[in-house]
């Protein structure tokens, strides 16, 4: 069984061990690729979830596969944990350093190796930014479909590790549906290729397993992604409503009618106000809810379906229905949505982004509960929602400088996630578990399931050195967390059936 299962909390590396490691790294890396001075380490203290911080003892920045192999062999030999890092935009503390381990930054792996216009694939290094792939492919009228809102900054290596989604994944799928092959280095320093450009590979779907594995199974060094032809026609409709239920029902009706929009994104009033103030994109700030519905395909397809969508929406007391008149306006309307996080960030000193997914039919129950809790906790919540697939991003506004407010925020966030599980959903749709949702894993999974997760990790990483302590809680931790809940009253959702 995995060693991680009952592992003790990390004890920081001793100075002697740290110096020994630095020496070992300097034998395989140039001096400037081994960061060890305080001011060099500072930028690596946290990822996009800045409330968690830990200064790493060492950061290494390899630029060849051989260097990655050498680094991992050293760490494997020395028993030193490794935290891989892309751009550090992750929102769950996945790339949060460990006091007893190194950060393996993949930023120098930033080359697009090849674009095959005919096979419609791109071979890229993991540190390539998501958007850079589509930019490079645009010469061939191709693009890479998954488009996380962080796409200007986040790396494709991070996307694979989190199985990231974007506003277009309802129709075009998540990262796992758009990656054909991953070459990765194991903790032992072996280079292995998973998947391929044929439609399938024999045996277990290990390519699938690597997706969303949060840097805990292997370190990705090369990725082949699928590129898609740009659709001939794309049109965006904005629909506003004076209550969230109407918007939710309209969404269900559109999908029930047999239309799969390319994107279907919803926002509630606080998010609308924030986005409009930030991007001046033309959202009606008096609306209680609005959604953006994008259709793409051939001209005939889009016209036909757009007419149907408009009819359906009209049945749900829509207060404003607006079709983007041209490409400029379409991009403008998307900009509001895509900058919703920073926009909300301007309303408040800090915000905390939650990432649960729910079966869409429970939307109004969940929103109502959140509104109640928002009052109870005296914390404002703005909601952006990947409405097509039920992925909810409540943004809790708080001020970390007010004593106790972060703790209240985290508690509220935890409650929201548990509610997502209660209604049949999950604690994370796309941001990953990382450090952040590790306790809620104990709510979603029982001890046997968690043990099986550790066992799977053990098949790849028997000494539990790759990003240990993230994503999958130890049973001890769950026991403590469970106890905590008992202390407050009752066991979390003991009445829930497991299926």
């Amino acid at each position: 069984m995995s060693q991680a299962l009952f592992s003790e909390p990390q004890t920081p590396l001793t100075e002697e061990k740290r110096i020994g490691l630095i020496d070992a790294f300097l034998r395989v890396l140039p001096d400037e690729s081994v960061l060890r001075a305080d001011e060099e380490l500072l930028p690596y203290e946290s990822d996009g979830l800045a409330v968690y911080q830990q200064k790493p003892p060492v950061v290494v920045l390899p630029e060849t596969v051989e260097q990655v192999q050498a680094i991992l062999k050293i760490c494997s030999r020395e028993g030193v944990p490794v935290v891989a890092r892309g751009a550090g935009t992750g929102l769950s503390g996945g790339a949060l350093p460990l006091a007893n381990g190194i950060v393996l930054g993949m930023a120098k792996f930033n080359q697009i190796i090849d674009i095959d216009e005919h096979a419609r694939t791109a071979t890229v290094q993991p540190g390539v930014r998501n958007l850079a792939i589509s930019e490079a492919a645009s010469d061939y009228n191709l693009y890479y479909a998954p488009d996380p809102s962080s796409q200007i900054a986040c790396t494709i290596g991070g996307n694979v590790a989190e199985n990231s989604g974007g506003v277009h994944c309802l129709k075009y799928g998540l990262t796992v549906h758009n990656v054909l092959q991953v070459t990765a280095v194991t903790i032992h320093g072996d280079v292995i290729t998973f998947g391929g450009t044929a439609p399938d590979t024999p045996g277990y779907d290990l390519l699938g397993v690597l997706h969303g594995s949060e840097g805990m199974l292997a370190v990705t060094v090369e990725i082949v992604v699928k590129l898609l032809p740009r659709p001939a026609t794309t049109r965006l409709l904005m629909a506003a409503f004076d209550n969230v239920d109407n918007a939710g029902n309209a969404v269900a009706d559109i999908i029930g009618s047999g239309i799969i929009p390319a994107g279907l994104e919803m926002m509630d009033n606080p998010a609308i106000i924030a986005a409009e103030a930030f991007a001046q994109c033309g959202y009606p700030t008096d609306a209680e809810a609005l959604f953006l519905c994008e259709l793409d395909g051939t001209e005939e397809e889009v016209s036909d379906q757009m007419a149907k969508v408009e009819k359906i929406i009209a049945r749900h007391n829509v207060t404003k229905l607006h079709l983007a008149k041209d490409e400029t306006e379409r991009m403008m309307l998307w900009k509001g949505r895509k900058s919703a996080f920073p926009a909300v960030g301007r309303l408040s000193p800090d915000y905390y982004c939650i990432d649960g997914t729910i079966p869409r039919r429970h939307l109004s129950t969940v929103l109502q509960k959140m509104a109640e809790w928002s009052e109870d906790y005296k914390l404002r919540i703005a909601n952006v929602f990947h409405a097509g697939d039920g992925n909810l991003h409540p943004l809790i506004l708080f001020d970390a400088n007010i004593p106790g407010e972060l703790e209240r925020t985290e508690e509220l966030g935890g409650k929201i996630l548990e509610l997502c599980v209660e209604v049949g959903g999950t604690i994370t749709g796309e941001h990953g578990v990382g450090m952040e949702k590790i306790n809620q894993m104990c709510v979603q999974f029982d001890a046997n399931e968690i043990t099986q997760f550790h066992a799977l990790k053990n098949a790849f990483d028997p000494d539990a050195l790759l990003n240990p302590g993230k994503a999958i809680p130890t049973l001890n931790r769950c026991a403590e967390f469970g106890a905590l809940h008992v202390h407050h009253g009752e066991l979390p959702h003991s009445d829930l059936e497991r299926f």
């Binding site: 005919h118 419609r120 989190e162 199985n163 796992v176 549906h177 072996d190 292995i192 391929g196 044929a198 439609p199 399938d200 590979t201 024999p202 045996g203 277990y204 779907d205 290990l206 699938g208 397993v209 997706h211 969303g212 594995s213 199974l217 032809p229 659709p231 269900a252 009706d253 999908i255 047999g258 239309i259 051939t298 005939e300 397809e301 036909d304 379906q305 729910i358 079966p359 039919r361 097509g388 697939d389 039920g390 992925n391 049949g424 959903g425 999950t426 749709g429 578990v433 894993m441 979603q444 999974f445 046997n448 399931e449 099986q452 997760f453 066992a455 799977l456 098949a459 994503a471 299926f499």
Partner: protein, 356 residues
């Protein structure tokens, strides 16, 4: 047959096998008995009575069913709401079940355009080699909590656990569909297919057989009509696809070893003797060949793909193996994973690889 929850019984059977350290085969409809090497010396656990749709919410695009549920049942349940399984599971016999389909990860003609089984699995429940009933994934489209065990089970040929139920993403049935046939030599057909895939989002199947390219277009009616007139060729019956998918097409009436080659897009004709039908825009090739297994595998590998001995007599299957052997490193991972899910080696021994 009636809906029936056989969870308790199946759990008990697995626990008994654990106690007796007795490996067993897992079987539901038996429509895929010919895939892989079925151990003939061990008992069988029958999943076919564990059947029924557990949950189906058309507006959420998700269905959950017990693994013994017939594909027929699932298809008709979905069709009532204008929906379908995008990956078009083959029906080698009418007894094909959803459990077998997911375990063998078999997908139909739409695979290159709409995705395969692995692209539509959302969650599952399974019994592992310790006899624990476990649930992974769920009934929502986006879910990254924990490792993706559901995808791991997809295509594992039942070697990692007994699948109890699966949740799948479903899609709307297209309003209109047309199949066209156009005489074309294989070389031009492969080139044309590649071009077309970049041009028309309406193609949902493409195959080459007997000197002709066959294409299926699906979508809203006038879009399909416009695309069909651009493409040209004669309209033929849609059952070409189900016959091909189910191996009921006359092409499959041959008593020679049947190979399935899976190769990258743009792969030219390969140097393998035998009648070949090209499905999946040329990426899945059905080839009846008596050539040496090593040579066939090496040819597929040189093209960037792999070759599976799909249908053959037991003797050849045992000597040549059926599934293409992976690299040593990947094989080691297979063994490690098998050991972590099924340490006693109970589930479907040797079905996927002799060593698993």
């Amino acid at each position: 047959m009636q809906d029936n929850d056989a969870t308790k019984l199946l759990e008990q059977q697995v626990k008994q096998a654990i106690a007796e350290k007795q490996p067993f085969n897992i079987r539901a409809g038996g429509s895929k008995d010919f895939i892989g090497v079925v151990a003939d010396t061990v008992p069988t656990v029958d999943v076919s009575a564990h059947r029924g749709v557990v949950a189906y919410e058309p507006t959420e695009l998700v269905i959950t069913a017990r693994t013994g549920t017939l594909i027929h049942t699932i298809k008709s349940t979905l069709a009532e709401h204008g929906q379908m399984l995008a990956f078009e599971p083959p029906l080698y016999t009418a007894d094909a079940t959803i459990g077998g389909t997911v375990a063998a990860a078999v997908s139909g003609p739409s695979r290159p355009y709409l995705g395969g089984v692995r692209d539509h699995v959302l969650g599952c429940r399974l019994i592992n080699g310790q006899g624990h009933l476990l649930k992974f994934g769920g009934e929502v489209m986006k879910n990254v909590a924990g490792y993706d065990v559901t995808r791991l089970m997809t295509g594992a040929m039942g070697t990692l656990g007994l699948l109890m139920d699966v949740s799948l993403k479903v899609v709307p049935i297209a309003e209109h569909e047309v199949t066209l046939r156009q005489e074309l030599d294989i070389h031009s057909a492969l080139t044309r297919l590649q071009q077309l895939a970049g041009e028309s989002p309406l193609i949902t199947a493409a195959a080459w057989h007997d000197g002709a390219l066959h294409i299926r277009l699906a979508g809203v009616e006038n879009a399909v009509s416009v695309a069909a007139s651009t493409f040209g060729g004669e309209k033929i019956e849609a059952n070409f696809w189900s016959e091909l998918n189910n191996h009921q097409h006359a092409f499959f009436d041959v008593d020679t070893p049947l190979w399935r080659l899976s190769v990258p897009p743009l792969t030219p004709e390969l140097d393998i003797n035998g009648a070949t039908l090209y499905d999946w825009a040329g990426m899945q090739r059905w080839c009846f060949s008596n050539e040496n297994a090593e040579k066939i595998r090496a040819t597929a590998v040189a093209a960037g793909g792999h070759a599976q001995l799909y249908k053959a007599d037991d003797k050849l299957k045992r000597t040549a193996g059926t599934f293409h052997p992976p690299s040593n490193e990947i094989m080691t991972l297979h063994k490690n994973i098998k050991n972590e899910f099924d340490p006693l080696g109970l589930f479907n021994p040797g079905r996927l690889y002799a060593a698993i």
